[in-house]
Each structure stands twice: as structure tokens, then as C-alpha cells.
């Protein structure tokens, strides 16, 4: 284990409200208060002048496609993309092939993670068998196998009764339930937000109401059962309002927003570019503003990417036929900084909190801080560096990003996991 002396960084650790220029020491895989004189001499010194040192970023919503869809992404490639984006902990969705609805599949994923991953990759399991929304998956066994939450991501449980039982049952194991809020009966054939743009483009619309109804349902069920329901990628302004009111009553719900929903609107679809097709869809400027307001006042707890790789040939189709989803890990930090810090004037420590301490707390993970004795998961980034993102040169196996070719501001320089450098100078070590 190497010893590191990171010098002259702006250290931001929201967990202890730290924001000061200083040095950080890493030894034995952990942050330490200081190093002995001899240790200092032999330590690897990193000049971090002009850089931010913050806890390794945490993303509770990624798709690594393993097992079964490894042509799109693998745990090896996905975790490298995470490291390059400054992420040290990511949470994988269970919509793999087969879906992760049993302990055996979780074990298989964990075996791959131990073998191939360069960052911490934590699995989730399904709520229902086969993610079909008909019968509960073996949630207790999933918990024992190591899942950090359950979710039928992408296939929102439609039956209110089954969702209620899932809440009651999962609560017994203290497992959060993550829900992609979508009433399927209202979104048949839908490929984009319903509104002026869908009317112009002649594409089938996915109305806000289809999200709002399930967000409201989940608030009600969380209140009824006491279970923690985490609402994934909120896209609708009315949903923000519903969450705000429920939280004011003390309901145990949390919510996430993606970088793309705070940066883009459905106006981007004017040329039917499938790199702007995702679910939930990009919505209007009013929705975008409401989500930012929700992040500002704590209604929305965290940023999560919904990193969803698809190959070029899968995305290179008629808009109706292309799959939903875009990459997120390698662009999340600069895009989020661009919107929240530079445009919206959020304080930088607050934005880092949205991507570190808060997601850790949301899932009860021992991560998201630079405190002494914490595992040395660290991200060093230059908040002012401009760079051009080339999705094809990225670490993900796919390149389906709306920011391909864009100039982004803010660049990750070095990522540490448990005191080891996993990414630096544009390379995975």
C-alpha cells in the first residue's frame, strides 16, 4: 500500500463541512491525520494546486449490462468509465439478462466485480420475479447476497397492492426500494415528452402525469408502510411538488435527478437525434427549472446518472426504434458543475454533497467523506479546465452520449479507491 501526500488542494468534505486549502494524507488505504517525518519523506507527493479534492463520487443509478448484454458494457468497462468520471462507488441496476432477481445472479455479479471492477460496484436486486411485476422476488435472499436496494428499474411495478407488499416486506430488511415512476397504461408507444415538441415532431408523447401518478402513489405507500422509497430520475415539475409536500409531512421518500434532466430539454429532439432519447424523457424548460429548484431546497436529494450504454448500431435507428438511455459517468461532474455551479450559482460544496455524502447516506454506505480513518476514496478535479469530450475515446464500451464532441468545463484528474490510484492523467492504472 502506497502512502500519498496530496498537497495544496482545495479540500471539500461536506460530511464535516470542510472547505479549505490544505494537504491530505493517505496511508494503509485510509485517510490519516498526518504522516511521520520519515513517512512524509517516502510518500508519493501529488501537487494538487488549483485542484479540488473531494470524496470519491457516488452514483446510485448505473447500468453495467452484466450479465447478458456485455456488447454494451461490462463491469470492467463500466467501472473504468466510473473511475474516469471521478466515481468510486456505483450502484448497478438489476435489468440485466437474466435479471438479477435471485441470489445466484447477485453472486455472479459480485464475482465479476471482485475480478474486474476498478471501483466499488454494488448490486441491486429486483422487486419482482423476472421484473414482471407479478410476484415478489426472494428479497431476503437478495439482501443476504449483498444487494443495497431493490428495484424493478425501467419496469415500474404497476400493481399498487404488490408495491405495498414489497414495501412492507423490504422494510423488514431495512432495504430501500428504488422506483422508476411510470404508469405504463399512459405511455404505450411513447418516445418523448408529451407537449408542443411531440406535437410538432409527430412523436408519441409520455405525459408528466404518468410519472406524477406513481410518485404520488409511492409517497402514499411510503407513508402507509414506513418503507424508504427512493424515486429515480425525477423529470416532471409536478412530481417535484408532490415530493416536497410529502417530505414536509415527514414521509420517508428520497429522490434523484440526472445531469441530463437538469441540463437539457425536449427542444433538443428537433432533429430526432437518438442520443437525446431516454426514459423518462427530456421535458420542458419549466420542468428543468423545477428540478433545479428541487435540488436547491433539498426536495431532490441527489444527482444520479442513469448511465445506460447502448452500442452505436442499436442507437443508429429511426427514433421510434432506438433504445432509451445515454451514457453518464464520464460527463456527470462537468455537466452538473456547468448547470448548478456556473449557471445556477449553487455553492460548490453543496453540489459535491449531492454527489458524495448524500448518496452514501441514502443507502447507508460507509463512504462519501475524507475523514480520518475513512477508506481513501478520493476524486481530484480541476473545476476550470476546458476539455473536449470524445465519447468514442472514453472508457465505456459504448459511446451513446449527447455530449460527444462538446467542450466541457471541469475535468477529473485523479481518482483513488481505497488508497490506490485507479485513474490519473487520462489513464486507468
Amino acid at each position: 500500500m502506497s502512502t500519498f501526500w496530496i498537497q495544496n488542494a482545495r479540500i471539500i468534505d461536506p460530511a464535516v463541512k470542510r472547505d479549505a486549502i490544505g494537504d491530505l494524507y493517505i496511508s494503509g488505504g485510509k485517510f490519516v491525520a498526518s504522516l511521520s517525518v520519515s513517512a512524509k519523506k517516502s510518500a508519493k507527493k501529488i501537487d494538487a494546486t488549483g485542484l479540488i479534492a473531494c470524496p470519491g463520487l457516488i452514483d446510485v443509478h448505473v447500468h453495467f449490462r452484466e450479465p447478458g448484454q456485455t456488447h454494451k458494457e461490462t463491469i470492467a468497462t463500466g467501472s473504468r468509465a466510473a473511475a474516469a468520471g471521478g466515481f468510486t462507488t456505483v450502484v448497478c441496476m438489476p435489468n440485466t439478462a437474466p435479471v438479477a432477481d435471485n441470489a445466484g445472479t447477485i453472486q455472479l455479479i459480485n464475482d465479476s466485480v471482485r475480478r474486474d471492477a476498478v471501483v466499488r460496484v454494488l448490486p441491486t436486486g429486483c422487486i419482482t420475479v423476472g421484473m414482471k411485476g407479478a410476484a415478489l422476488a426472494p428479497i431476503g435472499s437478495l439482501k443476504r447476497a449483498g444487494v443495497v436496494a431493490i428495484t424493478d428499474d425501467g419496469d415500474c411495478v404497476q400493481s399498487n397492492e404488490l408495491m405495498r407488499r414489497a414495501c412492507e416486506y423490504a422494510k423488514m430488511f431495512d432495504l430501500p426500494i428504488m422506483d422508476h415512476c411510470q404508469d405504463h397504461s399512459m405511455t404505450v408507444g411513447a418516445v418523448m415528452n408529451e407537449g408542443v415538441m411531440s406535437t410538432r415532431l409527430g412523436l408519441r408523447g409520455w405525459p408528466n402525469a404518468a410519472e406524477d401518478l406513481i410518485v404520488a402513489r409511492n409517497a402514499i405507500l411510503s407513508e402507509h408502510t414506513g418503507a424508504h422509497i427512493h424515486l429515480q430520475h425525477i423529470s416532471s415539475r409536478h412530481s417535484v411538488d408532490i415530493i416536497r409536500r410529502a417530505k414536509a409531512r415527514g414521509v420517508k421518500i428520497t429522490a434523484e435527478a440526472t445531469p441530463h434532466h437538469i441540463a437539457l430539454t425536449d427542444e433538443s429532439l428537433a432533429t430526432y437525434d437518438t442520443h437525446f432519447k431516454m426514459n423518462p424523457p427530456l421535458r420542458t424548460e419549466e420542468d428543468r427549472r423545477a428540478i433545479i429548484a428541487g435540488l436547491r431546497d433539498g426536495t431532490i436529494d441527489i444527482i444520479a446518472t442513469d448511465h445506460a450504454p447502448h452500442t452505436d448500431y442499436e442507437k443508429d435507428k429511426e427514433f421510434d426504434f432506438a433504445p432509451n438511455g445515454i451514457l453518464g459517468l464520464e460527463t456527470a461532474l462537468p455537466v452538473t458543475l456547468g448547470v448548478l455551479v456556473r449557471q445556477e450559482k449553487f455553492k460548490l460544496p453543496f453540489v459535491i454533497d449531492l454527489m458524495t455524502r448524500r448518496p452514501a447516506r441514502l443507502l447507508g454506505l460507509p463512504a462519501g467523506t475524507l475523514n480520518v480513518d475513512a477508506a481513501a476514496d478520493l476524486c481530484l478535479f480541476n473545476p476550470d479546465e476546458d476539455w473536449t469530450y470524445d465519447a468514442k475515446a472514453g472508457f465505456s464500451k459504448s459511446s451513446n452520449s449527447p455530449w460527444h464532441g462538446a467542450t466541457l468545463t471541469g475535468r477529473v484528474k485523479t481518482t483513488f479507491v481505497a488508497g490506490k490510484i485507479v485513474f490519473t492523467q487520462g489513464k486507468i492504472l
Partner: protein
């Protein structure tokens, strides 16, 4: 002003001047269609592929006829006989057609935006013959051509489009063409099929047939598809007809000189009374005839022809 456009994808992107150029060129070609030899050598040696991946009778035949009148070689391919049924992508199908030497592709496709998608990788002109619920530009051009023949100018004239607007590419193309030409457009139909979003396109939305039809000079009917019943857009064809079907009484609310239009296919007795469809105010078959002249104009211009040179190149 020379014509520079190689593709015809939407009316939304056309300028008023371009619409005028297409109409003027169509007028010249229409004269040719009245002759005993209805053919000009304008596109001799060119191969045009009609790639129709969705069923069509009128549009496909009209494009076919238009291309033949211009002396082009035409190959028509429909969904059932194309490799798309074997899982080939649209891109691969189109690139193969290009590799076979096609000079132009006319595409009819169920997915909105697919003609634009083809232009991203094809170096030959692409003509949109209807893309999902998006646009059907040649239909909008032939409809306005027909209206102009009857009304002279459309500036300030009241045009009503009645029926299933939500799922209609014909409606969208007509909305763009008519608003550019200065017409006062009102969309009418059940609120489920005529959402308020359309007002953003510069038209009125109404669910009251009587006030909408009052003094209108053009009424364009759109086909009502029975599938919309099962999706809950209206209770039954019978109720639709009783609320929004055009019959003699309702036609009497129109301006006395009003024309009745329909892009076809017609459901007699559903959106329009049979008598009216065949009556002297109906221009439904004129629309079909004009469709050839307008499509000749589009094929000619997008192949590099210029509006003013139509007559000299004809024999």
C-alpha cells in the same frame, strides 16, 4: 431565386418562396398532363426508388406516375417485399439501394423523422412520402395547390381541418403550408384527437363544429381510424359521426362557395356523407390529379431542375 434544396423532408422548413416555386413548377407540369403525350424527358436516365415501408395506394401510385411522366426509371419496393422483414435496418436497406445506383429515394415510413435520418448518410436526394404522424409534405403541397386553384389566394381565408389531427401527418403538413400562405386555420375534432398543443403552431383549436365551420371557405376532412376507439380517443364511430361527421346540414354552415377536401382513403358515412363526397363542392379527385403535377415538380426540383426551365426542357 434558384432552387437549392435537394431533399424534401418537411413543409415546416420550406420558405414561402419555395412553396411558390413548387406550385409554379407544378402549374407548368399540369399543362403537360393535359396533352396527348404526357411525358417529358427531364429525368431521363435517372433511377428513382419508391421505398414504401407502410401501406399506401394513392401516394405511391402518384409518385410512380410522376416519375414516369418525367421519364425516370422507377422501382417500387414495399414493406412486405423488403429485407426489413428479415431484420435488416433501414440504414442498411437504404445504403444498398444507393449502392445499386439509385439517384433518389422516396420514403414512406411509420417512424417520424426517418427521412431526415436517411439524409445523414445518403448522398442522394430523399423525398418524404409520409413519416409517421410527422409530415406528408407533398400532400400539403398538393392540397394547397388545389385550394389556390379554387380560391386564388389563401391570405386571410378561413380553412378548417376536421378529424383526427393528433395522429395525422397530413394535418401537420397542411398546417405549416397554410400558415405560411397566410390562411386562418382552425382545427376541429374531439378534444382527445385535437390537443391544445397545436395552437403553438399558429392555428386555432375548436371542438365546436358549428362555429368552426361558419363561413369557412375550405373544409378538409381527415380519415377517422377505428383503432382510435380501442385506445380511448373516442367512444365509437357512430358517436364520432353524430358529433363531427360532415353532412348536408353541417355543410350548409360553410361559405356557399366552400370546397370540401379529403386526402383519402375516405370512410363514407363516417367522417363524410357519401353524397357530399361525390357532390359538386367536393374536390377530392382533383386533389389526386394535382398530386401528380406537384410530385413531378418536387422530383424535378430536387433532382437539380430549376423552376423557370420547366417549359423549355419539355418536348
Amino acid at each position: 431565386m434558384p432552387w437549392t434544396r435537394r431533399h424534401l423532408l418537411t413543409i415546416e422548413e420550406l420558405s414561402l418562396a419555395e412553396i411558390g416555386q413548387i406550385h409554379a413548377t407544378a402549374t407548368a407540369f399540369k399543362k403537360i398532363l393535359g396533352r396527348s403525350v404526357k411525358k417529358v424527358p427531364a429525368l431521363r436516365g435517372k433511377t428513382i426508388v419508391n421505398l414504401f415501408l407502410e401501406p399506401s395506394t394513392r401516394t405511391r401510385m402518384a409518385f410512380d406516375m410522376a416519375a414516369k411522366r418525367l421519364s425516370a426509371d422507377v422501382i417500387s419496393l414495399d414493406g412486405a417485399s423488403s429485407s426489413t422483414t428479415k431484420g435488416e435496418t433501414l440504414r442498411d436497406t437504404a445504403e444498398n439501394i444507393r449502392a445499386l445506383g439509385a439517384d433518389m429515394i422516396i420514403l414512406r415510413h411509420a417512424a417520424a423523422g426517418s427521412p431526415l435520418y436517411l439524409t445523414r448518410f445518403l448522398d442522394i436526394p430523399v423525398i418524404n412520402a409520409g413519416d409517421g404522424a410527422h409530415e406528408h409534405p407533398t400532400q400539403g403541397l398538393l392540397d394547397t395547390f388545389t385550394m389556390l386553384e379554387h380560391l386564388g389566394s389563401l391570405k386571410g381565408r378561413k380553412v378548417v381541418i376536421l378529424g383526427d389531427i393528433l395522429f395525422s401527418r397530413v394535418a401537420r403538413s397542411n398546417i405549416h403550408a397554410l400558415t405560411k400562405l397566410g390562411a386562418a386555420v382552425t382545427l376541429v375534432g374531439p378534444s382527445t384527437l385535437v390537443p391544445h398543443w397545436f395552437t403553438d403552431l399558429g392555428v386555432k383549436v375548436s371542438h365546436d363544429l358549428r362555429s368552426a365551420l361558419a363561413d369557412a371557405e375550405v373544409v378538409m376532412l381527415l380519415r377517422i381510424q377505428h383503432e382510435r376507439q380501442s385506445s380511448g380517443h373516442f367512444p365509437s364511430l357512430g358517436e364520432y359521426t353524430s358529433m363531427f361527421g360532415l353532412n348536408k346540414t353541417r355543410a350548409s354552415w360553410l361559405n356557399p362557395k366552400a370546397i370540401i377536401m379529403h386526402p383519402g382513403p375516405i370512410n363514407r358515412g363516417v367522417e363524410i356523407d357519401s353524397e357530399l363526397a361525390d357532390g359538386d363542392r367536393s374536390v377530392i379527385l382533383e386533389q389526386v390529379t394535382n398530386g401528380i403535377a406537384v410530385r413531378m415538380a418536387v422530383l424535378y426540383l430536387c433532382s437539380g431542375g430549376q423552376p423557370e426551365s420547366v417549359m423549355p426542357t419539355t418536348v
